[in-house]
């Protein structure tokens, strides 16, 4: 599904990603963990083409998308959904409009089709009754669930989560994680950057530990959490678990 080969990313003098190589299969849930500043988010943003790789290759369904000049960036992004740490809902649009705008503008769906799809998704995240509410009047957890519905409305092949619960109050984290769990069980391909180790342990098929721009360790949650091989992984896990 997604294949990353020797991916490098530099911001001027800062070498953020130092040769990432990995492969994500259809239907797989991959959790990326690691200390802040380790390049997790940049990695994710490269997958969504929000950042241009400095070198290396990213293949999405066999197509090399690493050179943005050669591909239709928008077409690729439409297939790769993204959920942000700070939700980034459109404040001037209602929850429903937030969900319908991309399908109708990008996919060319009619208003009724887009709305049908949106209501279906609102049901899935349990917020049908908030359809006509503006984001400012929603709690953080509700906003993030709408953001997930918004990403899903494009029917993406992969969904990327960039620390989706880090900006939430503790009592709202669970409702978002529940939605993500359902998605995972339905067979959605997901890459999740998270600090929620419980979620990673329970849902992930594979866990990647990143530090200083490299994947230092990967394996099933049990392998990584229970018997980490790398010293840095051990150090990191001992601090947060």
């Amino acid at each position: 599904m997604i294949k990353v080969v020797d991916l490098h990313k530099r911001f001027r003098h800062l070498h953020v990603l130092k040769g990432i190589t990995n492969q994500i299969k259809q239907g797989e849930v991959v959790c990326v963990i690691g200390p802040s500043g380790s390049g997790k988010s940049t990695f994710l943003r490269c997958l969504n083409l929000l950042e241009k790789p400095s070198s290396g290759h990213i293949y999405i369904e066999g197509v090399d998308v690493s050179d943005h000049a050669l591909i239709d960036v928008n077409e690729v992004r439409a297939e790769v959904g993204m959920v942000f740490q700070r939700f980034n809902l459109f404040p001037h649009k209602t929850a429903l409009e937030n969900i319908t705008i991309a399908p109708s503008k990008v996919r060319g769906l009619s208003q009724t089709e887009a709305e049908d799809r949106a209501y279906e998704l609102l049901d899935r995240v349990g917020l049908r009754h908030k359809a006509d509410v503006y984001p400012d009047h929603l709690s953080g957890g509700q906003q993030q669930r709408i953001a997930i519905a918004r990403a899903l409305a494009m029917r993406p092949k992969v969904l990327l989560f960039d620390e989706p619960t880090s900006a939430l109050d503790p009592e709202m984290i669970q409702e978002v994680l529940d939605v993500m769990k359902t998605l995972a069980h339905e067979g959605m391909t997901m890459v999740v950057v998270t600090h929620e180790m419980g979620f990673a342990r329970e849902v992930a098929h594979r866990v990647l530990f990143m530090d200083e721009g490299e994947i230092l360790e990967e394996g099933t949650p049990t392998e990584v959490f229970n018997s980490p091989k790398n010293d840095r992984t051990k150090q990191f896990l001992s601090k947060i678990l």
Partner: protein, 324 residues
């Protein structure tokens, strides 16, 4: 004793003689003549509805004594009517303007209001085209295109870095030779002050609006653009559906302030003879020699125009803050 009698007799005689003298001197009924003065001078005199003299001061002879209707028409100021009874001989009438400052200001008001209307019109039209120019320029400054960034940047820096007065002169006096060289075999084509005033004000406000629009767009969280792009929207779609609608909301209050600034700055076009509020006042002062009241009145009229707008902008600011 005797001396007293003599004095009384002399006085009595003098009194009688005086009375006689008065009786003697009383002339027979004769024509009346009328001296008319007025300030300001140069008023037309109408007697019983007929124009009898074209300017004041004057003396009109050969009038029949009795009741008359006199009308004095002072150009631009007012017409004054009076019913008078003329006696035989000399009559003097003065039609000077009231010295009262308030009354003088009242007399100036129609002319000044006409100028204020022109000021308002200039401001509204300039601001409107300024918004069109400014929005295009503001967007040109932020989009991902070096050439348009640079061109828009030069325009904005040039306009904001030079005085409006200089810009007005450049357009009104600087462009006719250029236009002439291109279209008229080197013979300068003069520009109507109204046209050059509008062009100068529009170009000027365009640059300021461009900065407001640019700031508005850049104040929108980058995450908005990223979220829109991550959904597969093109840059243009993200701009027009997501970023600009949010930016417009933030831009409205500073645009109101720009409008107020333009209302005041538009007074500068008086230097090229545009008949707006300030120019009208200058004309009045040269005629009436009363600068104190005239300029005070101009200031009050400007205040009257700006204060409502200031209030509206303040209210808008408050309301938009609540929605944010």
């Amino acid at each position: 004793m005797k001396k007293r009698y003599i004095l009384a007799i002399i006085l009595t005689i003098a009194l009688v003689l005086g009375c006689l003298q008065l009786a003697w001197a009383t002339p027979e009924k004769q024509d009346a003549f009328l001296k008319i003065t007025s300030d300001p001078v140069d008023a037309q005199v109408y007697l019983d509805g007929k124009l009898i003299h074209k300017y004041t001061p004057c003396t009109i002879r050969g009038l029949t004594p009795g009741a008359h209707h006199i009308e004095i028409r002072k150009s631009k100021y007012r017409t004054e009517k009076r019913n008078v009874t003329l006696a035989s001989g000399e009559n003097v009438l003065d039609f000077s303007l009231a010295e009262n400052s308030l009354f003088y200001m009242w007399l100036c008001l129609p002319s000044l209001l006409l100028g204020a209307l022109m000021t308002l019109f200039l401001t509204v039209v300039a601001e409107f085209s300024g918004i069109v120019i400014g929005t295009l320029t503001g967007v040109a400054r932020v989009i991902n295109n070096k050439a348009s960034n640079v061109i828009a940047g030069i325009y904005v820096d040039f306009i904001r870095g030079t005085p409006l007065l200089v810009q007005i002169f450049m357009i009104h006096f600087g462009t006719p030779p250029i236009l002439g060289a291109i279209f008229n075999n080197g013979q300068p084509i003069p520009i109507n002050p109204f046209v050059s005033a509008l062009v100068a004000l529009s170009i000027n406000s365009g640059a300021y609006v461009a900065e407001i629009v640019r700031a508005g767009i850049q104040s929108i969280d980058k995450g908005q653009m990223e979220a829109a792009r991550s959904l597969g929207m093109t840059y243009r779609q993200a701009m027009s559906h997501i970023v600009l609608p949010q930016a417009i909301k933030r831009v409205i209050p500073p645009l109101g302030n720009e409008f107020i600034a333009m209302l005041k700055d538009s007074s500068l076009v008086s230097v090229i003879g545009m008949e707006e509020l300030v120019r009208k006042a200058q004309v009045i002062v040269t005629r009436s020699y009363r600068p104190t009241e005239t300029w005070l009145e101009v200031g009050l009229i400007f205040l009257l125009m700006t204060i409502p707008f200031t209030r509206v902008v303040a209210r808008l600011e408050r309301r938009l803050k609540i929605n944010d």
